[in-house]
């Protein structure tokens, strides 16, 4: 092996002096002893520290002969294959492998350190004078600063400016789109479009405007008749004043009572003509007594009237029915065609399919089992029809005419069915027919009077008898409120675990005009206002709706029921009570 040893000496003033020496032999020895090929006069070098041996064509291996090893590219090793550019450290000496050339197999540059400096520095920097690529604190900090600003501010803003980019980012990398700005999950109902922030946030640096809400909720009813009560708080208010988003799946409507009490505490101060009562506070905090909606009849038409539950004298339902709850709920039972039965509330009252309200009572379904409309003692299966007074008389007439034709004596005290003296083929004379018709009609009237005035119809209905021009009876129209509190959000389903009698004093009610609903005090035994700790926390909107105007929508337009809506409404409205 021919090796060129180039010793580099730094003199003062930065002058570098090279000293070349040629070595030959294999191996080449390195050490502190005399006679070594490469003599390194440093105490930290062993007498014979290492060998360089050839290892195949143009390959050389450096092998340490002492346990302390050598430093090969800043790592302490026992042997290493030499490559051009490799740095070998032995003691204070640094050997660099230079490109071979000039007929030499190996060219080594040797730098000797000065004794003092290197001994001191060496333990702390075994790597010698390398200069690794450093990333300073400042660079790192600003890199972080820039990355966060770009990823979480610049990129989302770019996505807002260029909607196509925004949609793309949301689809592939939500964390660096405006999704990263989402402060909390949306209400359940808004989630289906929730990925598109701009469905609501349409203008930068402007709070969400009503038109974003009305894009979907155009037909949401307004609070009141805004022509009659054009209050700025209603006509200029923001949807977002009450509806707060990004607070989770269940949270959407402000629940604080002040929101309502601002106006309703002294409603006259904001709406002079309002017929509403002042509400000093929520339930348990001065809520006024409930007012039941009763149906009245005045000036030839039905009207509804709200009567406070504490005004007992006025609180009478003029339903034109006789129905003593007490009698029906007798614990001993009441007589029925099937014997004595004990009725309970559920015998007649069942929730409607939605469960909120109770389903209407139907004669056929709920009353008929006991209240048979029979009229002829010897024909107990025959009944008059229900629900149509003229039809009753017609039915009676037809019945008795038939009986007459069949030959029955219609006098009530006559023996049953003496045979006719006429021959079968003999046609009844006109006189006989008239006589039969008169008899049938008079019998129908006698029985009708009995039904209408004394039993059957009169058992339950108030009847108006008209004598002229001929005797007839009119059933007074049944006027029962569909719901005592039609606007309230009361839900029977949620109260079904409580016995009916806890709220409805039906077992003691002897008059059908009794309004059997409890007052606010009863509600307050379980319900309390916002923050109530020993009651069910109930806010204004637990029972009252805001969007209740029947006339105006939130966008100020008049609600026009289209044909389809009308049809839907008809279908959803329970059929009129059938008595």
């Amino acid at each position: 092996m021919r090796c060129l040893l180039r010793t580099v000496n730094r003199r003062r003033k930065g002058v570098v002096v090279y000293q070349d020496r040629e070595l030959s032999g294999d191996p080449l020895s390195i050490g502190r002893a005399a006679g070594q090929d490469l003599y390194l006069p440093d105490l930290r070098v062993a007498l014979h520290h290492a060998n360089i041996v050839s290892s195949g064509a143009d390959k050389f291996l450096i092998q340490s002969t002492v346990p302390s090893g050598i430093r090969h590219n800043e790592k302490t090793v026992q042997s290493a294959l030499l490559e051009v550019g490799d740095r070998i450290g032995i003691g204070n000496c640094q050997i660099t492998v230079a490109p071979a050339g000039g007929g030499y197999d190996l060219v080594l540059e040797v730098k000797h350190g000065t004794q003092d400096n290197d001994l001191e520095r060496a333990p702390l920097s075994p790597g010698g004078n390398r200069a690794p690529a450093r990333l300073s604190l400042r660079t790192w900090a600003w890199l972080l600063f820039g990355s966060i600003l770009v990823l979480f501010l610049v990129v989302p803003i770019a996505g807002f400016t260029i909607p196509a980019l925004g949609n793309f980012l949301r689809s592939i990398a939500p964390p660096i789109s405006d999704s990263a700005w989402d402060p909390g999950s949306l209400n359940r109902g808004h989630r289906f479009f929730g990925d598109d922030c701009n469905a609501c946030h349409r203008s930068a640096f402007f709070s969400v405007r009503n038109d974003a809400c009305l894009a979907c909720h155009k037909s949401a009813p307004h609070h009141v008749d805004i022509q009659a009560f054009p209050l700025p708080s209603l006509t200029e208010g923001r949807c977002a004043s009450c509806h707060k988003e990004h607070h989770g799946a269940e949270w959407f409507v402000r629940q604080d009572e002040d929101l309502c009490l601002d106006c309703h505490e002294e409603i006259k101060s904001v709406a002079e003509d309002s017929k509403l009562l002042d509400v000093p506070g929520n339930i348990g905090e001065g809520h006024p007594e409930l007012r039941a909606t009763l149906i009245t009849h005045a000036a030839g038409k039905e009207q509804s009237k709200r009567v406070s539950l504490d005004r007992k004298a006025e609180l009478k339902e003029r339903s034109n029915l006789y129905f003593p709850h007490k009698t029906h709920l007798d614990r001993q039972g009441i007589i029925s065609p099937d014997g004595e039965v004990v009725l309970s509330c559920a015998s007649c009252h069942a929730p409607d399919p939605g469960g909120r309200r109770m389903a209407p009572i139907h004669f056929e379904e709920h009353c008929h089992r006991c209240h048979k409309l029979t009229f002829e003692f010897d024909d107990p299966r025959r009944e008059v029809p229900h629900g149509n007074a003229p039809a009753v008389l017609e039915a009676l007439k037809s019945y008795y005419a038939l009986r007459t034709l069949e030959g029955a004596y219609l006098e009530s005290d006559a023996a049953a069915s003496p045979p006719s003296r006429q021959r079968p083929d003999e046609r009844a004379s006109t006189m006989l027919r008239r006589e039969a018709m008169d008899r049938a009609a008079s019998q129908a009237e006698v029985v009708g009077k009995e039904l209408f005035e004394y039993r059957a119809c009169a058992t339950c209905h108030q009847i108006h008898a008209v004598a002229e021009p001929f005797t007839r009876w009119e059933i007074k129209p049944v006027r029962i409120a569909e719901a005592w509190f039609p606007k309230a959000r009361f839900d029977h389903e949620q109260h079904k675990t409580i016995a009916c009698k806890n709220c409805h004093a039906a077992a003691r009610s002897e008059e059908s005009e009794d309004v059997l609903v409890p007052g606010i005090q009863k509600c307050e035994t379980c319900h309390g206002g916002l923050g109530a700790e020993s009651r069910v926390e109930s806010t204004c909107v637990s029972c009252h709706g805001f969007h209740v105007s029947k006339k105006y929508a939130m966008d100020g337009t008049v609600i026009r029921a289209t044909a389809e809506k009308r049809r839907n409404r008809r279908e959803s409205t329970p059929p009129p009570r059938d008595f």
Binding site: L47, P123, P132, G146, F205, G531
Partner: protein, 304 residues
């Protein structure tokens, strides 16, 4: 007389900080917002404004501490306020967000802030705990670490000289021991990849003392000297038979002295590292926090 920055003016800033925390907590407890507590209520905005102002002011400490000619309060006072009000920020920001956390830039800001505060609290701990140990460790060695390093180098030289006289085998053994004594080896760099080299820039004091050397990054490692040292001692002891007893005894004394010294140097470096390295996270994360805070505030009003 020296007063710790913690006790500056009889804990004046601790009192301010506690007052601020107390005020915030009481207001939060009494606050009855119409929506779930969050940054968007009046209290949320108020606490947010106070918190943001605090963050900017706390960041300003980095500028103030470099203004050597500033007369705007003593730097000790600034540091005292920085520490206590920084702690108050933790409470204020938590109340500001109303405990609403999610995967978004807002919580990112919060998390960064918490990390900055925790690293700062660790820093306070190191400043309170390690200086005393550092001084104790350097007892009778002078203050400059260079003195200790010179001492190590001197012991190495003396060991090698005696060993050389005792023969090549002993010399090789001692040499191995010396080569293996690497103060502040690059363990951390091995663990954390390139981070170790980055850390080098932080330690201004060490850099000026030991030149552009590598940062001592073996704060928790056992000094390597110990293991190799035992072997060396065993080997040298075996040389009693073949060498002069005086030389062996002297060599053993030197090795023991070096071992003790290296342990002290290692501790010194470890304490220094612990007292410096937290600042790396503290400062870098606080700059990151500044970015996240800007993104947080702008985004909130962008999609108001």
């Amino acid at each position: 007389m020296h007063v710790s920055f913690l006790a500056y003016r009889r804990f004046e800033y601790l009192k301010y900080s506690l007052a601020l925390i107390g005020l915030s907590v009481i207001t939060y407890a009494l606050h009855d917002p119409s929506v779930p507590p969050n940054g968007g209520t009046w209290l949320g905005y108020t606490l947010g404004t106070v918190g943001a102002a605090l963050i900017f002011w706390l960041l300003w400490f980095g500028v103030r501490k470099r203004q050597y000619h500033s007369h705007l309060g003593q730097l000790t006072g600034w540091l005292s306020a920085h520490v206590y009000l920084g702690f108050a920020l933790l409470v204020i920001a938590t109340l500001h967000c109303g405990f609403q956390f999610d995967w978004n830039v807002h919580t990112l800001s919060y998390v960064l802030m918490v990390l900055v505060i925790i690293s700062g609290m660790y820093g306070v701990f190191t400043y309170a705990y390690y200086p005393a140990r550092l001084t104790q460790n350097r007892a009778d060695m002078g203050i400059r670490p260079m003195t200790m390093l010179r001492e190590v180098a001197d012991l190495d030289r003396r060991c090698l000289k005696i060993a050389d006289q005792m023969g090549d085998k002993v010399h090789q053994m001692i040499l191995r021991s010396i080569e293996r004594t690497k103060l502040g080896a690059s363990l951390w760099r091995n663990v954390l990849g390139g981070v170790g080299t980055i850390l080098g820039d932080l330690t201004d004091e060490l850099k000026s003392d030991v030149g552009r050397s590598q940062l001592p990054l073996r704060p928790l490692a056992t000094p390597i000297m110990q293991q190799g040292g035992e072997m060396t001692v065993m080997y040298v002891a075996n040389q009693f038979a073949s060498a002069g007893a005086d030389q062996v005894k002297e060599l053993l004394d030197l090795i023991n002295a070096k071992k003790a010294l290296v342990t002290r140097v290692q501790d010194d470096l470890r304490y220094h590292t612990l007292m410096s390295v937290w600042r790396y996270f503290h400062v870098a994360l606080s700059i990151a926090l500044l970015a996240a805070l800007i993104a947080h505030v702008v985004s909130v009003f962008f999609y108001w």
